[in-house]
């Protein structure tokens, strides 16, 4: 999982049926430099992830990418390639 900061939420109208009722968030991945500096900055290329945890704007999340991102909806096949697996409370990294 990569780490990212939630920068906003989005809605799709219309969207394919599999996205009905799903929350989508814009996530900006965090670089190690910014993570160590704890400056609230990201630095990576923004992407969209499905969020079922209720992450708020500004919170840091860890998101799964690839095939495993659609596992939570197993056995229903869904076109999801990024999924917020956890909301970060705190991170302890060496300086």
């Amino acid at each position: 999982m990569r780490l990212g900061i939630v920068r906003g939420h989005l809605t799709l109208t219309p969207a394919v049926d599999s996205y009905r009722g799903k929350t989508l968030v814009v996530v900006e991945p965090v670089t190690m430099e910014n993570l160590r500096a704890k400056n609230g900055k990201g630095g990576g290329k923004a992407l969209i992830a499905v969020d079922e945890l209720g992450a708020a704007t500004g919170q840091m999340v860890a998101f799964t990418e690839g095939r495993e991102a659609s596992n939570p909806f197993w056995p229903t096949p869904v076109p999801v390639d990024a999924y917020c697996s956890l909301i970060v409370d705190s991170i302890d990294v060496s300086q």
Binding site: V30, E52, L53, V88, D89, I91, S94
Partner: protein, 93 residues
């Protein structure tokens, strides 16, 4: 699979239910010359890797699905702690 260095730990209360009780570590992927990637990753650890340790990470979710259930989003798992790497160039570990 790739090598990574453990840089820290993650505390997370809100997470996918299948991840309850998992230990999450922050790691940085290592290149052949020993340099680290710019973006950190959060990995599941069942082996007890310490900070600063070099580990091998698998990005296949099969072991996670086996242990945590078919609907787990866990993917990157520490599958081994590196003792040594024999490489003429030096570099990693």
């Amino acid at each position: 699979m790739f090598l990574a260095r453990i840089e820290g730990t993650v505390v997370a209360t809100a997470k996918h239910p299948t991840l309850d009780g998992c230990r999450f570590l922050i790691a940085q992927r290592l290149e052949a010359d020993g340099s680290a990637a710019t973006e950190p990753i959060a990995v599941v650890d069942w082996l007890g890797a310490a900070r600063g340790a070099t580990v091998m990470i698998s990005t296949d979710g099969d072991i996670a699905r086996e242990r945590l259930g078919n609907n787990t989003p866990a993917r990157m798992v520490v599958v081994g702690i590196v003792d040594s790497v024999q490489s003429p160039a030096g570099g990693v570990a």
